[in-house]
Amino acid sequence: MKHIKTVNKANLKQTAEKGGCGKCQTSCQSACKTSCTVANQKCEAVK
């Protein structure tokens, strides 16, 4: 494409199919403790 460069694979839809296993870290146990951020967590299922 000339005008658009896609940076990543758009994959949220696919993650719904096998997601929700609950193995991942709770977000407040990392560094925040006062502000919730979820998108910087890792998926443990794809390790």
Partner: protein
């Protein structure tokens, strides 16, 4: 739904519901003011007319590229995730914030724990209570294997025997229960010594080391009990701990307030001390307090985030990445699944806080607020009413989240912030939302820079 923004001279488009990120030129960026589903085989004339400063053929070309992305499910994707919203009901408990100390040896002016006691008596958790908390977590974790325990306070090193005995006990029983404990600790560092550093580096998968940045900034707001500064006491100890940590995670974590709205300087200062994993976050405080962040501070805060992003982007592009900034970390390909993203931290449902005498609260920020007490580790009567209330909190049940472009990144935000500022766990705090959105833009821009 899409969200488009400019960052550091680049035009970025986020397809909110697929997570797709596109870097576009100025024409495509402008065209997205007019182009939206349904897309037609040919670009409508009213669009080429509106963008008459560009050659019509170029506009048509660009329109077709947008249409292709739409057809491939990478632009204007629909949100059809609400059917997963109730998956957290009856979730097991998998994480615990263990308040081993409701006492502290610093007198930080912004402490949400009222200098460590959380509004109650100053007290330490006994080793026996720590062990029973581990039993409680195992008993309520169902089939979850990874169990997280954060030693917290007040200052957890003041209850060191309890930390050590709790870890040893948990390690002694984890295999028989098919569990894997991950310990973390959040400390101000005052009581660190070689023995504690060795133990922390051996047993803790992550540690959070509190330092607010420049000496004068840190010492003004994080004084010792006698009023003297804490910077010179803790710095050599933090350096020693991090030097011995190897590949294990750590964060040097600071808080910024109205007193240091130029907080990028503090991030850079902490990095200049040799630390590479950094987190500096806005204070949580009553708006009437002199150090609280208020709406008028937002332009300055945004410009500091922009400045940090620019510095980090330049470092990244020159191959010399020097540090991580927690709030700019994002994985655009293999981050959490969308089901995880529908709700935030899991507090009150998958995550609980336990006080020195064994009382259970939804998280550390709710501790001491009687109406949110959920039970005790010495009893099986956990408030199902409160647990369900948190389990039903998600981006579709919170006010404003369902229409917000950032909903799959902050996941509804911090429930404690919502309660503290808005008096309702379902009402996101506007100021926190604005800062969060800015950080997410910076994170996406930084991650996509190449």
């Amino acid at each position: 739904m899409i969200h488009k923004f400019k960052q550091n001279g680049r035009y970025i488009v986020l397809d909110v519901c697929s997570g797709g990120v596109h870097e576009v030129d100025e024409l495509a960026y402008s065209l997205l003011d007019y182009a939206a589903p349904p897309f037609f085989d040919e670009c409508p004339k009213e669009i080429t007319d509106k963008l008459s400063e560009y050659p019509a053929d170029e506009v048509k070309d660009c329109y077709n590229e947008l249409k292709t992305l739409y057809d491939e499910g990478m632009l204007f994707t629909e949100d059809d995730y609400e059917k997963y919203a109730d998956m957290a009901l009856n979730a097991p408990i998998k994480a615990m914030c263990l308040h081993v100390s409701h006492d502290c040896n610093l007198r930080c002016k912004y402490c949400f724990a009222q200098t460590g006691d959380f509004g109650g008596d100053r007290m330490l958790m006994s080793p026996e209570t720590g062990k029973r908390a581990m039993d409680y977590l195992i008993a309520h974790s169902a089939n979850r294997v990874n169990l997280e325990v954060d030693f917290f306070g007040g200052e957890p090193l003041m209850a060191w025997d309890t930390v050590v005995e709790t870890v040893k006990y948990a390690r002694s029983i984890e295999k028989q229960h098919n569990k894997n404990f991950r310990f973390t600790i959040t400390t101000n560092g005052i009581l660190l010594d070689d023995e504690k550093i060795d133990f922390i580096n051996r047993e803790m998968s992550n540690c959070v080391l509190s330092l607010d940045g420049r000496k004068e900034i840190n010492d003004n707001i994080r004084p010792c009990i006698n009023g003297s500064g804490s910077y010179d006491i803790i710095l050599p100890k933090f350096k020693k701990l991090v030097d011995g940590r190897g590949d294990k995670d750590y964060y040097v974590r600071g808080t910024f307030t109205k007193y240091n709205l130029d907080f990028a300087e503090d991030v850079l200062h902490i990095n200049s001390l040799g630390f590479k994993q950094l987190s500096v976050e806005p204070v949580v405080a009553d708006p009437s307090l002199p150090y609280a962040i208020t709406e008028e501070d937002l332009p300055k805060i945004f410009s500091e985030y922009d400045r940090l992003e620019k510095i980090m982007e330049e470092q990244k592009l020159s191959g010399g990445k020097k540090f991580n900034f927690f709030h700019f970390m994002i994985d655009l390909d293999q981050g959490p699944c969308v089901i995880k993203r529908l709700r935030g931290c899991g507090c009150g449902n998958e995550y609980i806080a336990v006080t020195p005498d064994g009382d259970i609260y939804p998280c550390h920020q709710f501790v001491g607020i009687e109406e949110w007490k959920m039970g005790s580790i010495f009893s099986d009567k956990l408030s199902q009413e409160i647990k369900d209330k948190f389990a039903k909190l998600h981006i579709y049940s919170k006010e404003q989240c369902g229409e917000c472009w950032a909903r799959f990144y902050c996941s509804g935000g911090c429930n404690a912030n919502s309660f503290i500022y808005e008096g309702d766990i379902r009402k996101p705090h506007k100021l926190a939302c604005e800062m969060q959105k800015k950080r997410i833009e910076c994170a996406i821009a930084l991650e996509s820079a190449e």
